[in-house]
Amino acid sequence: MAEPILQINNISLSFGGVKAIENISFNVADGEVCAVVGPNGAGKSSMLNVINGIYTAQEGNITFDGTTHAKMTTSVAAKAGIARTFQNIALFKGMNVVENIMTGRNMMTKTNWMAQGLNLPSAKREEAEHREAVEKIISFLQIEAIRKTQAASLPYGLQKRVELARALAAEPRMLLLDEPMAGMNLEEKQDMSCFILEANREYALTTVLIEHDIGVVMDISDHVVVLDYGKKIGDGTPDEVVNNQDVINAYLGVSHD
């Protein structure tokens, strides 16, 4: 087992009196695909939001890549190399696909706004470099045909793929994907699964994803964490988790006969 890149230590999060997450701990090993599953309202998206600093947990801390953060913020997470996609697509609707993916390179821009505004040679050179990196991702995700298409006019499945492209453009160490396959048909899910697995390998990523389709989860994850009502009820390999009685009860209900 590889050294954990991410350690979630006793995280609790509540909104007023509602406890969204209660004392959850788990580790994510470097290079693995970890799925966080659970029924609606189990606290999955909240967990992802805590990891990249959108929510601040009242208790507990997060260790990412050897550094412990009692209070993670979005900019710290981004600088540390955590990128994510959202359950509700959050692309810039009026911009085209290349422009959307280019925004993922923002953190890596070295020239200042003045140089960019004046279009100095240094800024031009840098833009060309970023553009090349973006083109590699476009080719990797096979979206050449929609390069210049406005994001808002794309079908849902392709918007999801562009969102993944933008996250990859940030050259992250860890990718958080919130329901990357929601609302997709079987074929689109298969394509997306391939892209997630290949990206994990090709870019040496660690991937944490939320997914409802247990078939997909079983196929692509190395490690599954199961949440229910804000508590962790399962943690292990896909095989261990599906044979866990607590998990079966949470998903199927308990038989009363």
């Binding site: 050449e144 045909a145 390069r147 290949e198």
Partner: protein, 608 residues
């Protein structure tokens, strides 16, 4: 210069710096000159030799039009090997059959999709020794296959190709096989080059021409109009970035020469109609007024000749309406546009003529190197033109079948002497299997494939293709199957174009839930009926369509209803739709059609 390897050496010597081939990589067009192409092919050729490829070896290629593929084809031919191009989507039994029939020893596959397809049937192909791939993505754990770039040997001098003779087989193409099992058609270097030369002469092709290679390599016509023409003229071949980007690439390259089967041209007309239907009122009326006016002027040209007013009007329409449209579609620089492989609807033909594109019919079969006749410039008739240089035609008096003789004919069907003998007559003619005649200006006209000609119960000869071609002349109709063999009347199964029909329905304010629903609507039936009555006016009374049904989905390749070139597979259609066909003759008003376990009521309408 009677072989491809010799032509390559000549281009590399005469035009070393001229761009031979380009491909878009990472969003930028990358060029390779004739000099670079020749040295790449030489390196690959010596690598192939070390893998056992030699004179007469069969080397399969399966993948898209890519510079590496063209290099590999040249490299194999430098070793006097025969190249067997396969369709990039070919899999399973069909692929196994092609590989075993042609006894391929080496296959060069594009990426994981093609490699998986080949490996799946490898066990059935005893001759297959080596599998080479271009792009290794997703295949890190594969064993027993070699990457193309690892096979290239550096710093090798160009191989000696002076001893290769013109009659050395260059390609084995597999015929589409609308009936029976496909056969491997062997075409020699000289046959393809002679044909490319005569096209170069009749169409004045030069080194400055631009060609986009977008048709599957498995078609003889595709290799003739890309590979052979570029080697003969030295012009530039561009490879699309991917299958999905062809239209964008076309716009960026602006090809000057275009060859495509009729369905490609028909798709362009329908997509133009679809876009204009959703444009503003002014644009919509301008477009249709300009089109109607130019079609009329084109017509007058043949009958009475044009006057100055017409000429001015024509130029004005071209400038205001069609120039921007052509620019958007990448047709601005198009000088030579050829359609072949099937008949083209008169409407589609006059559409292209009206927007100022010199679209011309060609005719040929795989056995005759894809092109034996070509229309003369300005000829507006519905014929396939006159024979190309070095080709002689004859129509058999008894059967009406077209026979051909001359340069550029196939060598044989690979390993199938009986089939070869059945097509080649003892006095050197080749049977085309097509029924043909001459029009009043001595231009050839193809009526139909002999095997598809039937007899109606009233004694009339039933030729479905000319009917279907007329019917598919509407921008709203995609496919048509005419039925009449052994019957007293002609009926038709019709498939609509989804894109243009949807925008038409939106414009007309018709509410519908989906294409299947829309296709069965009364308004759509009325639209179709109007079109069919104009078609019937042009047909002999025995061949007029009496009733029709609109199918709510496309006839597709997956169900073996059409071939990859979109030709109908009539036997399969007759089997699969036998009940629907019976309903067309039973006088029923409706047919309950089950598709994907869902029932649809398809109305049956009379045309009168």
């Amino acid at each position: 210069m009677d072989t491809f390897p010799k032509l390559l050496s000549q281009q590399a010597a005469d035009n070393p710096e001229k761009t031979a081939i380009r491909h878009k990589k990472l969003g930028v067009w990358q060029s390779q000159s004739w000099g670079e192409l020749a040295s790449a092919a030489a390196g690959l050729s010596s690598g192939m030799k070390s893998k056992g490829v030699g004179p007469g070896s069969r080397v399969g290629v399966i993948g898209a039009n890519l510079p590496e593929m063209f290099q590999a084809i040249l490299a194999a031919q430098q070793l006097s090997a025969v190249v067997v191009p396969m369709h990039p989507d070919s899999t399973g039994d069909a692929l196994a059959q092609t590989l075993t029939q042609s006894e391929c020893e080496m296959v060069i596959a594009q990426d994981q999709q093609q490699v998986d397809a080949v490996l799946e049937v490898r066990g059935q192909c005893p001759a297959l020794k080596t599998v080479i791939y271009l792009n290794g993505r997703g295949m890190e754990n594969y064993e027993g296959i070699t990457k193309l770039s690892d096979m290239i040997q550096e710093d090798v001098s160009a191989p000696d190709v002076s001893t290769i003779s013109g009659d050395t087989p260059a390609f084995i193409f597999h015929t589409a096989g609308t009936s029976g099992t496909p056969k491997g058609v062997v075409l020699s270097n000289a046959a393809m080059i002679d044909r490319a030369r005569s096209l170069t002469n009749t169409e004045n092709l030069t080194i400055d021409d631009e060609i986009l290679a977008f048709l599957p390599m498995s078609m003889a016509a595709s290799m003739l109009y890309t590979y052979a023409i570029s080697l003969v003229t030295g012009c530039t071949l561009s490879c699309p970035e991917s299958n999905e980007t062809v239209l964008i690439d076309m716009q960026e390259i602006g090809p000057t020469v275009l060859y495509a089967p009729p369905f490609v041209y028909k798709d362009m007309v329908s997509s133009a109609e679809s876009r204009i239907q959703s444009a503003g009122k002014l644009k919509y009326s301008m477009y249709h007024a300009a089109l109607a006016s130019c079609m009329k002027i084109e017509n007058k040209k043949i009958t009475t000749g044009t006057n100055i007013v017409d000429a001015l009007l024509y130029q004005l329409h071209q400038l205001l309406v069609f120039a921007p449209m052509k620019s958007v579609n990448g047709l601005s620089r198009l000088r030579v546009a050829l359609a072949g492989g099937d008949s083209i609807a008169p409407y589609v033909f006059s559409f292209f003529r009206s927007i100022g594109i010199n679209l011309k019919h060609t005719y040929g079969t795989t056995e005759t190197a894809a092109c034996i006749t070509i229309q003369e410039d300005g000829d507006e008739g519905h014929n396939v033109g006159v024979p190309v240089e070095g080709v002689e035609l004859k129509i058999d008096e008894g059967s009406g079948e077209l026979l051909v003789k001359g340069v550029g004919m196939f060598d044989s069907y690979y390993n199938n002497p009986e089939a070869t003998a059945s097509v080649k007559t003892s006095d050197g003619w080749i049977r085309t299997g097509d029924l043909a005649t001459y029009d009043e200006n001595n231009n050839l006209m193809i009526l139909d494939n002999i095997s598809e000609v039937g007899l109606m119960s009233n004694g009339a000869k039933f030729t479905p293709k000319p009917i279907e071609v007329l019917v598919s002349g509407s921008p709203f109709i995609k496919q048509c199957v005419a039925i009449g063999d052994g019957r007293g009347e002609v009926t038709a199964i019709i498939v609509m174009y989804e894109g243009s029909l949807n925008t038409w329905a939106d414009r007309m304010g018709i509410r519908y839930t989906g294409f299947a629903d829309l296709a069965s609507r009364e308004e759509v039936y009325t639209l179709t009926k109007e079109h069919l009555s104009t078609v019937n006016a042009e047909l002999d009374s025995a061949l007029q369509i009496k009733r029709f049904v609109i199918l709510n989905r496309e006839l597709n390749i997956a169900n073996s209803e059409v071939t990859r070139a979109r030709s109908l597979q009539r036997d399969n259609i007759n089997n699969q739709y036998s009940q629907m066909i019976e309903a067309l003759y039973s006088g029923a008003k409706e047919y309950k059609h089950t598709d994907d376990n869902r029932e649809h009521n398809l109305p049956i309408m009379s045309t009168t």
